[in-house]
Amino acid sequence: MSRRALVAVAGVLGLAGASVAHLAGSVTAGELALLAAGIVVGELLVLRLEDGSAVPLSFAVMIVLAASFEPNEYVITVLAAELTVFVLRTGARDRFTAEMLVARVAVAAATLGAYRGMQQLLDGRETVAATLATLGAVALAQLAVDLVARAVLRLGHSWTPRGRLAWLAVASSGMLMAIGLRGVDGRGDVGIWGPLLFSTPLLAAWYAFERLDAATRAYRQTIESLAMAPEFGGLVIPGHAQRVASLVVRLGEELGLPRKEIEDLEMAALLHHLGQVTLDDPEVSGRPDPQEVAGVTGRMLREIRPLAAAGDIVSGEADEPRRRLAVQVLRVASDFDDLTASGGTPWLDAIEALRSAPGFAYERRVLAALERVVSRSAGS
């Protein structure tokens, strides 16, 4: 079943369960049915981040449940909902893995523990400030445990720029939804309508995250696809652009370059041979001079605002020291790939060849980083 269909089914089942419970006279059971559906929906609708990981909206529903229900009700509802998601989504494209289930259970336990702990600490005081402090502490506990669980279970790190905003949106919405359901000292509570209505800004944020993710992927795939043109034309060895791109990212990280510079460097690596397709054919005028290819490609990219920085890196025209380093990184990575992939030179010999290039052509710092990066991936 598609994600959209699952969301619809979860919503309908939640409403049906709530209606049955209501008719049978149990308001609590009805609310729990709706919130369980909320967790399932919250696992299907996630805020996608740069690195492919995601922050689920279900964390907001956990805050609501912890703040308004008894611990046993909380445990049963959360576990039932998360297990349902696990069973439904194990085979699907967006897999909900066993590791993710473990991470969610840890976050759920932290949510309940933090809420109960704060209640004891504040001696059950019911003021607006005390409630906000309690719910804020719960959200922080969720974040801390989630980060640790992701690190331990290798689920990708969510502490990216987008990840911080995602967490903030989920946390603040969860707090507001909880206040809507339970109120503060008998004031402000609107029952189950609270979480339903106050989730709308979070759903708007989810929509914006989805659009951004789709647009980012489309842009990236377009660049990657264009990057393959010189390969299809038989002008470079297959996979060259992709390999160099992944190598420059690792080198950039190793050398401590800023994130934006690494992104530009990656674009530069993907497209650094593209201009070659506009030059005269090798079969007519011989193999083109690498300097000429870099010049043509660089000029072409510099005309395009979003790729202007990548154009500077490709053409090798750089004034700032940081940009000069990026230029070096691209040259080293590209020449290393030429030696190892098409020349078949073993990587240690290739680094040695670059080191002994005439006239100190390559910066030592970059070569040292290359040796560390390549030996690490050769070892693993």
């Binding site: 607006v128 400030a129 906000l132 987008r162 905003l165 995602a166 903030l168 949106a169 603040s172 919405s173 507001l176 206040i179 809507g180 109120g183 503060v184 008998g186 004031r187 402000g188 509570d189 609107v190 029952g191 309508w193 609270g194 209505l197 106050f198 709308t200 800004p201 708007a204 944020a205 914006a208 995250f209 659009r211 951004l212 789709a214 647009a215 980012t216 992927r217 489309a218 842009y219 795939q221 377009t222 990657e224 696809s225 264009l226 393959m228 043109a229 299809f232 034309g233 397709v277 506009t278 005269d280 054919d281 079969e283 007519v284 072409m300 005309e303 395009i304 605002r305 979003p306 790729l307």
Partner: protein, 313 residues
């Protein structure tokens, strides 16, 4: 202060929904009335264009009433909790628009730069995208579908990047072997478009095997047909290495003659309707580039259609 527990909440909800609808309704009347008087568009068009966003206002208006109650009961501190996700949604949407703009600019400029490879077809992809959009508009495509159609049209010839320059610019007829080498560009185009997730379903638009009209095949997306007709129309109305541009009337006639055989008839009529309504003129005498005086007159008729579609040999 009133307690909201129990039966009072549905009552408050009902009154908020009623008020929200009344608010949105009166806003819509004033907005549409003023726009109609100032913009002088048809009222039904205006209504169709704004109705979705007006409907979206209703839930937010209801939310507004509940936030108001919350403010009265719990004070301003709680308001921060609702402002934060709204600001984040706004920020993410702004980022989305920035990425979309960058994508747009990148594709447009790169195609422009790469088209210089073939001096006869500069500006071709953008014109094909324009004609494809004309057809999409006539067929009432939604924004997402239109976007996909536009990118597919812009990139339909992307595989030409792998064809050697001297073949692309060869005046006159190609040999069988040269023709075969040029045909590879279609497969490469399809492969390159298939790698882009949102274009993959209509990647066939770049291959002539998928764009020849097959009646009664509802499973086929219509976009490849649209791109093919836009491509053919631009090919006929601009000068190529192998022949001069045809007059617009001849191009229209050619499209109509082959409608139902080679071209999707609805798309043909949509394109002609859209161009005639705009009063645009293309083809011989109206070309953007007049400098290709040396092109032969040969190839009149369908032989030169769709740029390299069929062998003249």
């Amino acid at each position: 202060m009133v307690s909201w527990v129990g039966a009072e909440v549905p009552g408050f909800l009902a009154s908020s929904v009623t008020s929200a609808i009344a608010y949105t309704g009166s806003y819509a009347l004033v907005f549409l009335g003023v726009s109609h008087m100032t913009a002088r568009g048809r009222f039904s068009d205006l209504f169709r264009a704004t109705a979705p966003s007006l409907v979206q206002q209703v839930p937010f208006a209801v939310l507004g009433f509940f936030i108001g109650r919350l403010y009265l009961e719990l004070g301003a501190g709680v308001m921060l909790l609702i402002v934060v996700p709204i600001l984040i949604a706004r920020e993410m949407f702004a980022s989305y628009l920035r990425v979309k703009e960058a994508h747009d600019e990148t594709v447009k400029m790169l195609i422009q730069a790469l088209e210089k490879k073939d001096r006869y077809t500069s500006g071709h992809s953008e014109r094909v995208a324009k004609y494809a959009q004309y057809i999409g508009e006539e067929m009432h495509f939604g924004p997402a579908r239109m976007e996909r159609l536009r990118f597919a049209a812009l990139m339909h010839d992307i595989g030409k990047l792998v064809v050697p320059n001297h073949l692309l610019n060869k005046p006159g007829k190609l040999t069988e072997d040269e023709f075969r080498r040029i045909r590879i560009h279609e497969q490469v185009s399809v492969q390159m478009l298939s790698n882009i997730e949102f274009l993959a379903p209509i990647a066939g638009a770049a291959h002539s095997d998928n764009t020849r009209f097959v009646p009664d095949d509802p499973k086929r997306p219509i976009e490849p047909y649209i791109v093919m007709i836009a491509d053919a129309y631009d090919a006929m109305t601009s000068t190529r290495a192998y022949r001069k541009a045809l007059p617009q009337e001849v191009a229209f006639q050619e499209l109509r003659d082959k409608a139902g055989v080679q071209f999707h008839p609805d798309c043909v009529e949509a394109l002609i309707r859209a161009i005639e309504r705009r009063g645009e003129r293309h083809g011989a005498g109206y070309e953007e580039h007049q400098e290709f005086e040396d092109a032969p007159e040969a190839g009149v008729g369908s032989a030169g259609l769709g740029d390299l579609l069929t062998s003249e040999a």
